[in-house]
Subunit: 244 residues, 6 copies
Amino acid sequence: MLRVDKRKVDEKREVKITRDYTVYAEGSVLIEVGATKVICTASVVDKVPPFLKNQGKGWITAEYSMLPRATQDRNQRESAKGKLSGRTMEIQRLIGRALRACLDLEKLGERTITIDCDVIQADGGTRTASITGGYIALEMAIRRLIEQGALSENPLISNVAAVSVGIVKGQELLDLSYVEDFEAEVDMNIVMNEKGEFIEIQGTGEESTYTRAQLDTLLKLAEKGIAELIEIQKREIKECFEGC
Amino acid sequence: MLRVDKRKVDEKREVKITRDYTVYAEGSVLIEVGATKVICTASVVDKVPPFLKNQGKGWITAEYSMLPRATQDRNQRESAKGKLSGRTMEIQRLIGRALRACLDLEKLGERTITIDCDVIQADGGTRTASITGGYIALEMAIRRLIEQGALSENPLISNVAAVSVGIVKGQELLDLSYVEDFEAEVDMNIVMNEKGEFIEIQGTGEESTYTRAQLDTLLKLAEKGIAELIEIQKREIKECFEGC
Amino acid sequence: MLRVDKRKVDEKREVKITRDYTVYAEGSVLIEVGATKVICTASVVDKVPPFLKNQGKGWITAEYSMLPRATQDRNQRESAKGKLSGRTMEIQRLIGRALRACLDLEKLGERTITIDCDVIQADGGTRTASITGGYIALEMAIRRLIEQGALSENPLISNVAAVSVGIVKGQELLDLSYVEDFEAEVDMNIVMNEKGEFIEIQGTGEESTYTRAQLDTLLKLAEKGIAELIEIQKREIKECFEGC
Amino acid sequence: MLRVDKRKVDEKREVKITRDYTVYAEGSVLIEVGATKVICTASVVDKVPPFLKNQGKGWITAEYSMLPRATQDRNQRESAKGKLSGRTMEIQRLIGRALRACLDLEKLGERTITIDCDVIQADGGTRTASITGGYIALEMAIRRLIEQGALSENPLISNVAAVSVGIVKGQELLDLSYVEDFEAEVDMNIVMNEKGEFIEIQGTGEESTYTRAQLDTLLKLAEKGIAELIEIQKREIKECFEGC
Amino acid sequence: MLRVDKRKVDEKREVKITRDYTVYAEGSVLIEVGATKVICTASVVDKVPPFLKNQGKGWITAEYSMLPRATQDRNQRESAKGKLSGRTMEIQRLIGRALRACLDLEKLGERTITIDCDVIQADGGTRTASITGGYIALEMAIRRLIEQGALSENPLISNVAAVSVGIVKGQELLDLSYVEDFEAEVDMNIVMNEKGEFIEIQGTGEESTYTRAQLDTLLKLAEKGIAELIEIQKREIKECFEGC
Amino acid sequence: MLRVDKRKVDEKREVKITRDYTVYAEGSVLIEVGATKVICTASVVDKVPPFLKNQGKGWITAEYSMLPRATQDRNQRESAKGKLSGRTMEIQRLIGRALRACLDLEKLGERTITIDCDVIQADGGTRTASITGGYIALEMAIRRLIEQGALSENPLISNVAAVSVGIVKGQELLDLSYVEDFEAEVDMNIVMNEKGEFIEIQGTGEESTYTRAQLDTLLKLAEKGIAELIEIQKREIKECFEGC
């Protein structure tokens, strides 16, 4: 099987990071994964949600949205519909959980960092791009808090990145584009840290199923992809804080 | 480590099924998994959602809700809040995907079956109990459609059941109760069919991570639990349609 | 005229009470009135709504809901619609007023008891069953507050129960089932206490009217039915707190 | 006991009707009952709600609202809150039921008449004034449909009017003003037709109760008040269609 | 061109003010501009919105609504729709800005005055009538605060009034009625103070455009109309506080 | 007075246009006006809103939104709040009216073009940048419809652009940045076409006023700015359809 864009089965799409894409946010990037483009910003405020009040602990939360014409056909805005779809809520919760796993919330102190992931153009893998890019925005914000003396200790534990894998016409593939995702029998999103540990596995066989052997192949592809993404994250942070 | 209720690490809670728990639904059960109690009903209507119109295909959808005092403390009703929480939407979507995998939607014809899962009492594992019980309600409804001659061919492909597994204080456990779930470092919901294939894996290390070896142990526990649950499903259906 | 279920005109349906139907609530029953089934739970919290702050007075409030398949055809959930119907709000307000009449809110102290009435199966008379069952759940909760020493004085004044009466094809009937209610020219819900005093009368001639003589007959039927219901309430409470 | 405005216990407040208060509606009045002022308009459209489609039958529905400063203190608009309160829905449903009882919906044909009741100033009895005034607007609209030849047969069966009665400091009173209503142990709204038959009785002892003897006294007061109101309705309609 | 109601191009409609139209509000008028009728009430509370807390400054805000049958055809209530339309929000914001320009918010002290503008009958120019009438209600409320000693210094700076102007079939006109507004190529709302200064200009050529020369003519018409309206305002206030 | 960025009083900020910023929309640009950045996309569908059905006429509508961190401090998403603010609705209506004035809706045929304006970074003038950029996206979409043969006749009448002007510390200024806008006594948004005619004037003296002489100065500044903007629009379109 030949992939539309000639990629090998274990080859992820090209990733491009534009740092400080917007000027006001404490950290921000435009992440491009192939034709998928997401603006990720990290916003810091010195308070926490009610359920964490007076515990000396911080919080990371995420919001996700698509511009109405990020897709082939225009979608109605959720602000116009007056409510968030189940898909949006599920993605926001995933991104939040993933990014909370990369740091020690106690060391963050009583502050909340909100990661906004706004999809400008969608060609598959928007939620995993949001996690991978969101991590960079988050680390930028945290490093600046440290530089400013607002944080005395670095709360970061490990890089976190995410990738999709799936089975298309019986073939396991790394990093599905939209057309691949549309045709996939199985679609799986994997979030891992730099030690190769899992933070999240979400694998769905929509109107289909997969065997234990297929699962093993998919996990191996994800490990490879995520290792490459974490390398990119580290290079970007290095250039930003040492090189620039 | 001793579990609160003395269960072994690979021992699921006792499951009790009350068939035809309500009289109006085409299929209905009360499923009790330990202290967790869920009413699952299957309601059939002869129309499909707009996106499936005129395709000769059916649809399975699910709704999930908790009575306000299903839990230790009373929760506000989502009808009073005026919107569904992200958690509810995520669970509904999961149940729907899981149950769509158990049958051939083409053979179902242009009808929709709604599986309502209403949690009367919650002690962990409400979403997996909803899938396991929802499958029985669904099969009851479909068998009755066949008995009435409304369906000429059986659209069912395979039983589907679900169970939670997790890691508590470093120990992998099958079928977490609420106190175990609350303490768990890793929480995973697995949906499988009777052939031992995966339909869905959702594994989250909330503020934690897990290794590949731990994942393998968890998957093995889930396989055991789901095989036992499917045996119970088959026995119940047999008693209902042959014995009663 | 013969009633479908062979009952005499002044005969109420069989009533069955399952006490402590759920384990977490301070008081709970499943009340069955013929085929109508309602779970009533009483939940106690140590605060009051804003309009009662700092008055040393308590509050009783009620919420009412139907499972989507409690009825012949499936109804859309109000949580999915995003708002409560007028019918639901009217019933909730009625149950709340009825149960506030059974006790001295000053003696209750600054606490709120919420009575949740969730209809599992509906065959007419769900709002009156909610009041009759809700009273038992409420008394259970209050007696336990007294047992625990949280209340020094018993705030209960009198039992409260409710029943529907109506005119079907010119005949006054006690305790209408759904088919009778559907055909009724006049539908009346009566709430009374154990002294035979009225707490609420709601009598509607939907597209019809009724004379003073008919009203008198209906009130007499209601008195009989409510006296019988209060006897059942007293027996259940006695068994629970003396016998069990 | 002397009433604040010197009325006798069985004396209703002065009623003033301004016909055709607004120019666009098919029928409209400003009804003033003491200091209570309600604009009632009847709007006719040639279609019916979905549940009545193709049955050759019409429908009467009502909406009720208060201007924010109709009361002593300003209330938030329900349009700003984004939802109707339970009180508003209950009143709308009452007005609709009451006015549907005054005519033969089959003879009305496939049209809907909406009665809008907007309270300009509230001094107790706004829902009963809405029914009494709403009837006049409705009859005006129907007579004009007949004059225009749109209706061949008069669907009206009987005048309908409403009044409140209640018990204040143990004394039964006709037509409560706001201060009386506020102090009332028992508050009852009665809707009757010109034959002296009941259409609706709603009697609530909020945190109180009432005996059968008290009920009889209240019903007698209501009969007297409603007979007087129907006389006023008839005079107004006569002046409008014969005198003007 | 002859205007439907025979007015000259620079002639505004007759204006009628009924002061203290409702009894509870601190200030209230019914303003009639031709067939357009708006009830304007001013309600005073001793607190300010959160963004003004502890600044020793007051606030003026406005709400606008139409009765459903204020217009030729009945409109759905915004309370029933569950949200305010864009048109309503735009008008409310305009009225609020216009009336805030007539006084010194510092001298008002920490209180909020809400101007409610409820359109009883709409024949064009409802938003400008709301401003003109709202000013009178506001001045009445403020003068009474001064009389009661609640305000030591008069915060009012200048009268404020508003009028619409427009171009219909190429002719510039003052104070458009509904039929004129409907046909207008250009529709402009002007708010001015008694010194002839502008507070707001909103001029829209819906599917049309206008030249600089036309703009100048429109502004001159508006100046004339507003001067006349301010004279009426001053006379009403004088009669109210000196004559009555 | 020196402007923060050293501009002369009649000097607009630098404008940068990135054409086809997203790949799916029929027309799209990123417009940058100083630090203000807005993505404008034009989406074409072959149907019209209900009020235009079967009239052979098209429609242009606009939606406007800000990314939560487009501003100095993070704003809550309107999708999370569940409703659009008054400000957003007002801006959307303005952009829609402005762009409908640039073309003949009859010649557009039964299709709707939606202009989405998503603010990535906000430094004042976001609504005027949306109109100026939205026009380019709209013309790109229309020219492509013509190229594809979907439109036989060009419906475009004239370029349309917009700019803000205002009075800051008594000085009239062209194209206010955020800090200037924040300090402005008067804020005015002007929309004009290439013939120098007005489409919209919105001039507000928030808690302030302005004289006729000041208005004249402001209008002159706007004319200059808009002429320059239209020149840029023409150059971009030329490069796109002739040069590229």
